[in-house]
Symmetry: C2
Subunit: 219 residues, 2 copies
DNA sequence: CAGCTGAACTTACCGCTGTCAAGATTAGGA
DNA sequence: TCCTAATCTTGACAGCGGTAAGTTCAGCTG
């Protein structure tokens, strides 16, 4: 009968008081420990100390809860990207650092990342979760924003900015996906494929794409 | 009592005769109709006309069956790539066509593609399914093989070939993933993001990466 | 041709999941 | 003080993957 709700000194009451937030934050913890596929509503509820049907007072179904979790996930991703932007001034380094920050987020929080991007249900019901779309656009906007500044300074060549963003996004997303699903069989102790460390491969990939987007005049 | 096993004229018998192959091929059909998440062993068994436990005579568990399906999926992916190689001689066009073929395979067979790449269980149990690793390496080998020829002819710059392959693979994989999960909200009727058609965006992304890998001397 | 054996298949069951309906509890306004 | 509405519990349901025990039958042995 331990496992208190708000603070650890508050007695367990029939009404939780802040169950909605408790569910989301506990779900985030849960996704740090196990994969998104093993994520269970009943397990989540029991961890928070409520019955298995209690979440339905705050969320229409499992997908709605996951959408709320994904919103927080997007915010955390944006924080990773924001940090990379502010810590660098050199355009090349800013580009690479932002890409590496994206990949770092994905590899450090694979289940959360997977929930956000590999979940087909969420984009399908985009109308139902406007906050999710908003948070996602904000993260994507940080990418295109940086590319726009690089383009305006003449560092990148002319061209459709959203197209550039799409290409870069696809690259970093693919990197995260291949790494977290284990399809790249080297993470330091490389066997047959001599890619080197994963970090090196990621950096090389980013530099390759950046070089393709550069302004030929400054090359 | 219809739904015959081998040929449609053969009477249903207690012993199916070729259940293993029937399960795999029916699973492939099923994955054309619905997502990998909705894929159910019981549904598959009933479609083939056997009881829900019959598949366990031929496969250890659901994952083992999916592994067999994934092997066939890799073969089909390789066929897409092979065609692109043979139909083009110009290096740039060969590169782009191969990338487009990859993306076409992913978008035309999203559930099958998702099963192969977004499934964490399969790579984890790679030792149990050597055929799967082999089929996957064959597909990746077609990519690095093409890059190797381009490098040898001086069209690509020097550098780790597996690293190049990893970067290109990540890009096309990311493109497929973003498109099939619906995160790129334009497929002809683009609203806010002015990327143009998906085909154009894919081509532009591939050209960007290719340009980054090119030999500066031939640029 | 009769009998046997082992693989293939069915039936019945288990624990687990997401979801729903009905009842219990309680915070907070009338 | 009482009443209402939101919150939470209990108990149920169908469907899932997986297991165990029983049934059927193809094909080999004598």
């Amino acid at each position: 009968m331990k496992g208190c709700p708000v603070a650890s000194l508050v007695k367990r009451t029939y009404h939780h008081g802040d169950l909605r937030n408790a569910l989301v934050s506990e779900a985030l913890k849960l996704l740090e420990e196990q994969g998104a596929a093993e994520f269970t509503l009943r397990d989540l509820a029991s961890r928070v100390g409520v019955s298995h049907a209690a979440p339905y007072s705050h969320f229409e179904d499992k997908t709605a809860l996951l959408a709320a979790v994904a919103v927080e996930g997007f915010h955390r991703l944006s924080a990773y990207l924001e940090q990379a932007v502010q810590e660098n001034s050199d355009p090349t380094e800013q580009f690479v650092q932002m890409g590496e920050a994206y990949v770092r987020f994905g590899t450090e929080h694979p289940a959360l990342y997977n929930l956000i991007f590999a979940n087909k249900e969420l984009p399908e019901q985009r109308d139902k979760f406007p906050e999710l779309t908003e948070a996602g656009s904000a993260a994507f906007g940080m990418l295109t924003g940086m590319l726009g500044r690089m383009q305006q300074s003449g560092f990148l060549r002319e061209g459709n900015l959203d197209g550039f963003g799409f290409a870069v996004w696809a690259l970093v997303h693919g990197l995260v996906s291949l790494i977290t699903t284990g399809h790249v069989e080297c993470a330091g102790d490389c066997a047959d494929a001599e890619i080197g460390t994963t970090e090196e491969a990621v950096r090389a990939s980013l530099l390759g794409m950046l070089h393709g987007l550069k302004n030929p005049a400054t090359a």
